[in-house]
Amino acid sequence: MSSDEIGMIIDEVIKGPDGKPLLLPLLYKIQEKFGYISKNTAHEIAKKTKIPFSTIYGVITFYDMLYTEPKGKHIIRICNSPSCYLNNLVTLIKFLELLLNIKSGQTTKDKKISLEIVSCLGCCDKSPAMMINDQVYGNLNEHKIKKIISRLR
């Protein structure tokens, strides 16, 4: 990505009292546009904002929803917390892995779908639940998952 584009995004983002952009919104904006934030991009941001590279990279790697590597076009996050666990989650994770032919943490070969096992999504009233990008799918069963995935492909 070009350094001009990064500069434009920096201009748009809300600044703290020291005049520097707040990192979370900045990094999200960059990720929105380019899918992930590479080391080079992080260096570029550091140069432009005068925020140390180590801070920027430290932040990206701290937060699960920011990525240093390219991800699939769709990111499936399936919940692995107690309420979903009590609602047949383990079987469903295995089913998803089989269906997508990847393990959790991986991306399909066609780069369409990434699968992540995550903590509670706050949808325990619809357990077992998963999110695809920013949409929630609840009360899952194998049949439902199959239908949802076929629509993604």
Partner: protein
């Protein structure tokens, strides 16, 4: 539900006719307590934030609801975001703040348009009442630890969400080193109601019931009712064996005669939380224990050793027990380890991460012992 009643800025209008001191007193008198898990009196927190005068102050709405089994803040933000915004403005009037952040957990980013709409409506009302306040929404990065009030501040400032050592408390030195009031969504949503509803009282709480039930959901219930009544509303699938109060609050065996209130649950060694995860008799406590420890191992921010390394070892030991490979001395080791993690971790996450195991030992130890070699 009481919490969904729309106050339409009437609470704010009333507050505008009062001095900051009077607003604070009214909130103190109401006995409203923080609904983010701390149960700390909100009025006192406001008072503490008022004490440093003549400096810029911030308000943070903590919408980083991450405790497993909890979804009440999502419910409020979806159905009544306006009251949350109004609550921020009332608190702002009390502490004399003109800028605030709503820290929305990354997994709830779909609620952002709803909140933005509420902010737009608030701006119109503010113009009429002639007040200024700047709202910002920050989307979190998906880290449970950012529910901690100092971690949330670090996160907004653009750092890793590592909790700070307290003191100083945010009320003196918070966001950008300025006095900051951090309040949870449900707490803020109650503020306008305190000003508009004469009969408001702190007893009514939102509970999220989930797990082995047919009707999981958000239930608004008064403290002091029989626990049995609450649980029956959610229609258990089988006989209930244990109740987990989220992941941090520990667990108790289900007892029909128990009262739904902080004190009776505390007497049993657990902490009443908004989240009631019901576990029935078909379940093995060890499995639940492992899932919860996995959660903490994953969510530990890594800043301090007992929590970061300790929870890895805890998980290993639990798996060893599950597989039937553990001996009596492993059980002892686990118990000791939990003691150390609970006593020496820096923040609430680490300290509470072993709560559940201590209570499982207290009430369901036989399920661990049965598995020993």
């Amino acid at each position: 539900m009481k919490i969904l009643r729309k106050t339409r800025f009437n609470g704010l209008r009333k507050a505008m006719q009062m001095s900051p001191e009077e607003i604070k007193e009214k909130i103190k008198k109401s006995e409203l307590k923080g609904r983010g898990g701390s149960n700390f009196p909100t009025g006192e927190k406001i008072e503490m934030t008022m004490s440093r005068e003549g400096v810029k102050k911030y308000i943070i709405c903590n919408a980083d609801e991450g405790e497993p089994g909890t979804f009440k803040d999502r419910f409020i933000l979806k159905k009544n975001p306006l009251n949350v915004i109004e609550g921020m403005l009332i608190a702002a009037r009390a502490i004399n703040s003109e800028e605030g952040y709503i820290y929305l957990r990354g997994q709830y980013s779909y609620l952002k348009p709803n909140i933005e709409k509420a902010i737009q409506a608030a701006k119109k009302a503010m113009k009429k009442i002639n007040i200024t306040f700047n709202f910002h929404i920050i989307i979190g990065g998906g880290a449970y630890v950012c529910g901690d009030e100092t971690a949330i501040i670090e996160s907004i400032e653009g750092k890793r969400g590592n909790p700070r050592i307290k003191p100083p408390f945010p009320s003196r030195k918070g966001l950008f080193a300025m006095p900051t009031l951090v309040d949870n969504v449900e707490t803020l949503a109650n503020l306008p109601l305190i000003f508009t509803d004469k009969n408001w009282n702190d007893n009514w709480r939102l509970f999220c019931i989930s797990g082995d039930v047919r009707k999981p959901g958000v239930y608004e219930l008064p403290l002091g009712i029989p626990l049995k009544k609450a649980i029956q509303m959610a229609r258990p699938k089988n006989k209930i064996k244990a109740i987990y109060f989220g992941c941090y609050g520990g667990c108790i065996p289900y007892d029909e005669n128990l009262i739904l209130d902080c004190e009776p649950i505390r007497k049993k060694g657990a902490m009443l939380a908004s989240s009631l995860i019901l576990v029935d008799e078909t379940r093995n406590i060890l499995d639940i224990s492992a899932i919860i420890s996995k959660f903490f191992e994953f969510e530990s921010c890594g800043q301090c050793t007992p929590c970061r390394e300790g929870n890895i070892r805890v998980l290993e030991l639990l798996q060893k027990i599950s597989l039937g490979k553990a001996k009596r001395k492993d059980l002892k080791l686990l118990e000791e380890l939990c003691g150390v993690i609970g006593d020496t971790s820096l923040c609430g996450l680490g300290q509470s991460s072993v709560n559940h195991i201590m209570k499982e030992f207290k009430y369901f130890k036989n399920e661990f012992q049965e598995k020993l070699k």
